[in-house]
């Protein structure tokens, strides 16, 4: 009997969590920007976006390079190494850039957001803010959420560009595929609206919302103990990765599933 009660409580607890997170998101999105808000937003852009730049560029370069290596060795068996540019760019733009950048972002920036907000809660900074009549949602959570939503799409675009350069470096410069057909094949198949705007930018905006929303909510709602913060950080990474991969399938089915 106890087990059933525990199970029921767990489910209700999760559903309540989703409700609270949605409530928080709506409160942040439909609130007027405050005067000092833009300054705080800029500083969070630095912490969330700029600090993630290194891991994004390095992993972009290497993922592009590995793609170039693998695709070349597969395509050369069919004598189709002129399709190398097409293969690398479509893979990166439609899937890999947005997903991998979002996963890295969840690990690099999302967990940091959770830890920061969680430890603020632990040291009762959030509670004291409420006490003096300052809304911690506006003061603390909102700039971080917006910074995440804005910076991940930018990081994704940088990731895709660096990845294509890395693929070109390995495929063309090291392995010797033809440079002319590399670029022209790419330009003939990649369409800006269809592949870059849909596949990279729209997808990454959705992923950015998911990742930062999960991170911020987990920090805001965590148990104010060291153990609670650790659990919240783990949850941030796990939940945002799962959501990103699940939503990626849905978005791909909607965008590219047709003709």
């Amino acid at each position: 009997m106890n087990t059933i009660a525990w199970l029921g409580r767990l489910v209700i607890e999760r559903i309540r969590g989703i409700g609270a997170a949605a409530h928080m998101l709506l409160q942040i999105i439909f609130s007027f920007p405050t005067k000092g808000g833009f300054g705080r937003f800029g500083y969070q852009m630095h912490r969330v976006g700029v600090m993630s730049l290194l891991i994004i560029t390095v992993s972009g370069l290497f993922i592009g390079a590995v793609l170039g290596l693998q695709m070349y060795s597969i395509l050369v068996t069919f004598g189709a190494e002129s399709m190398l540019g097409t293969a690398i760019s479509l893979t990166l733009l439609r899937e890999l850039a947005s997903v991998v950048a979002a996963l890295l972002f969840a690990g690099r920036a999302g967990s940091a957001l959770t830890a920061e907000i969680g430890s603020m809660k632990q040291s009762e900074q959030l509670a004291s803010m409420e006490m003096i009549g300052v809304d911690p949602l506006k003061q603390i959570v909102s700039p971080r959420l917006w910074a995440g939503i804005v910076s991940l799409p930018m990081l994704t675009v940088i990731f895709a560009a660096i990845g294509i350069i890395g693929g070109k470096m390995v495929g063309v410069d090291f392995l010797g595929a033809d440079e002319g057909s590399f670029w022209s094949g790419m330009q003939n198949t990649v369409r800006f609206g269809h592949d870059i705007f849909n596949g990279t930018i729209i997808k990454s905006i959705v992923f950015a919302l998911i990742c930062t929303w999960v991170a911020v909510y987990q920090g805001y709602a965590c148990d104010p103990t060291p153990e609670g913060i650790a659990t919240a950080m783990t949850r941030t990474v796990v939940y945002s990765s799962l959501c990103v991969l699940g939503f990626d399938f849905v978005l791909t089915a909607v965008m590219f599933g047709g003709i």
Binding site: Y43, G49, V50, S89, A160, A161, N188, F192, D195
Partner: protein
């Protein structure tokens, strides 16, 4: 000071983003506006454009002179209508060449029977009409034909303009009337198997329907010959 350096870092971040987006737009997707200078559109109707896609290139003598804009189906003739943009700089004459072309056309006109039989005033009018007709001509002559070609044996399809030898030139916005659609490898193989003969294979897919009954006749003829 701290906020100042973070502003600088965010500024650099935004600039890197701008460069990356520019790179994706220009170099990767080839969204260079249309890099056709002084562009204009022309049309052609094909019986089969299987494999041809929008943004496929249009070439003349191997030089890319334009891109396919759209492919639609004409409901009356049930032919595929292909609209393509051409580069005005590559496909029109410069003033000296235009003068040369006009001179050739006038010479041609002077030898024609209509001209020699007409009165001097009519001759003058004909000459004027000819020169005024030649203001917005392209370098594609009326005998030129356009075909759906394949890059390599199995590569992508593109349009190939093959110049003819005429002295009358098409104007901007005209329709190229001599066309040849996609040459389907399957059609060719099936014709080869059913005994279409080498001559018919060379005739291409445009005569696919017409040659079908003919080839069966020939089959029976060959059969009787064997007997």
């Amino acid at each position: 000071m701290k906020s100042r350096s973070s502003e600088l870092a965010v500024g650099i971040f935004v600039i890197i983003f701008g460069i990356a987006l520019f790179f994706l737009a220009m170099k990767v997707s080839g969204l260079v506006g249309t890099n056709l200078s002084d562009s204009y559109t022309m049309k052609a109707q094909f019986d089969n454009v299987n494999g041809l896609k929008p943004r496929a290139k249009v070439t003349m003598s191997g030089v890319t002179i334009g891109r396919v804009d759209s492919i639609t189906l004409d409901p009356v003739t049930r032919l595929a209508t292909v609209t393509f943009g051409l580069d005005g700089k590559l496909t029109s004459f410069n003033p000296e060449q235009l003068k040369e072309v006009q001179k050739n056309a006038l010479e041609e006109l002077r030898y024609s029977s209509d001209y020699t039989q007409a009165s001097p005033e009519q001759q003058k009018a004909m000459e004027q009409q000819l020169t005024s007709n030649m203001t917005s001509i392209t370098s594609i002559d009326e005998d030129a034909y356009i075909m759906v070609a394949t890059n390599g044996l199995l590569g992508e399809k593109y349009l190939k303009v093959v110049p003819g030898g005429g002295v009358n030139y098409l104007k901007r916005g005209d329709t190229i009337s001599n066309t040849q659609g996609t040459m389907d490898l399957e059609d060719l193989i099936s014709k080869f198997i059913t005994g279409g003969g080498a001559g018919k294979v060379a005739a291409g897919s445009s005569s696919a329907e017409a040659s079908a009954p003919a080839s069966t006749n020939k089959d029976s003829a060959e059969a009787s010959f064997v007997e």
